[in-house]
């Protein structure tokens, strides 16, 4: 891997974390394309992204709990229930052809872009910030 590639990966990693800290999105939406760019296949990139999310989330939670925003009990319910969903998700992802998974992921990225833009452009008064 060239120094330029490493620098680009580090910069994109930092940007993904920034997105996570600002918008509560885990960062995977940028990890996966970055890892694809580094040469991983779609499935490998997705699996590796999940591991990369852990330090990001740990840092994000540490900050947010300092501000008193984390509701621990609901988080535990959400997290424990998600384990069952994860099992089904892995079965589906490993049985789909990688080019199909890549296209589906592309649609997801587009959807997230639309959601971010909508949140930025909607009228201000709706929710207290």
């Amino acid at each position: 891997m060239s120094p330029g590639t490493i620098a680009a990966a580090l910069a994109l990693g930092f940007a993904a974390g920034l997105l996570a800290g600002l918008f509560g999105v885990g960062g995977g939406i940028l990890f996966v394309p970055t890892l694809l760019g580094l040469g991983l296949g779609q499935l490998d990139a997705e699996a590796t992204s999940l591991l990369a999310i852990l330090p990001t989330v740990a840092a994000g939670v540490w900050r947010q709990s300092g501000y008193g925003h984390v509701r621990w009990r609901p988080a535990l319910w959400l997290g424990l229930a998600s384990i069952a969903g994860v099992q089904l998700g892995v079965v589906i992802a490993t049985s789909l052809p990688e080019h199909v998974l890549r296209r589906l992921f592309g649609v997801l990225v587009l959807g997230v872009a639309v959601q971010l833009a909508w949140r930025a452009l909607r009228p201000r008064a709706a929710l207290p910030r």
Partner: protein, 144 residues
Amino acid sequence: MGRPPPRSRFAPDRLVGARLRRSPAYDTAVLRLVLIGLVAGLFSALFGVGGGILIVPLLILAAGFLERPATATSLAAIGITALAGTITYAFHGHVDVGYAALVGLPAAAGAVAGSTLQQRIHARVLSLGFAALLVGVAVWLLAG
């Protein structure tokens, strides 16, 4: 923008707090959280993302959370989800620890910077910048 005053432990938005826990509403609250968690887990493992993009709006719309507690609580839940996903994928041999560290460790620094900024600015311009970046990524993925 000034900072909002610190919220009381017993503020109304503290879902499943001491007051709600004694009421029948607690049961449906847990059911909603479990359903949101199930969907988010499937989504997370299928796409290799945390699932916050799904959890945050669902917590706000279906579970009565305010935006910031929803964001923070989603992050904590994603920790469990991503750990479960990593372990499950590791059994299939897909997780590359070196690459995960290469993007994950700078991201931890980015997350600290991001959550600090969130307390101080309306991240409108940044938000639109990220949206534009993601449109570019989507075009690359869909056309490639």
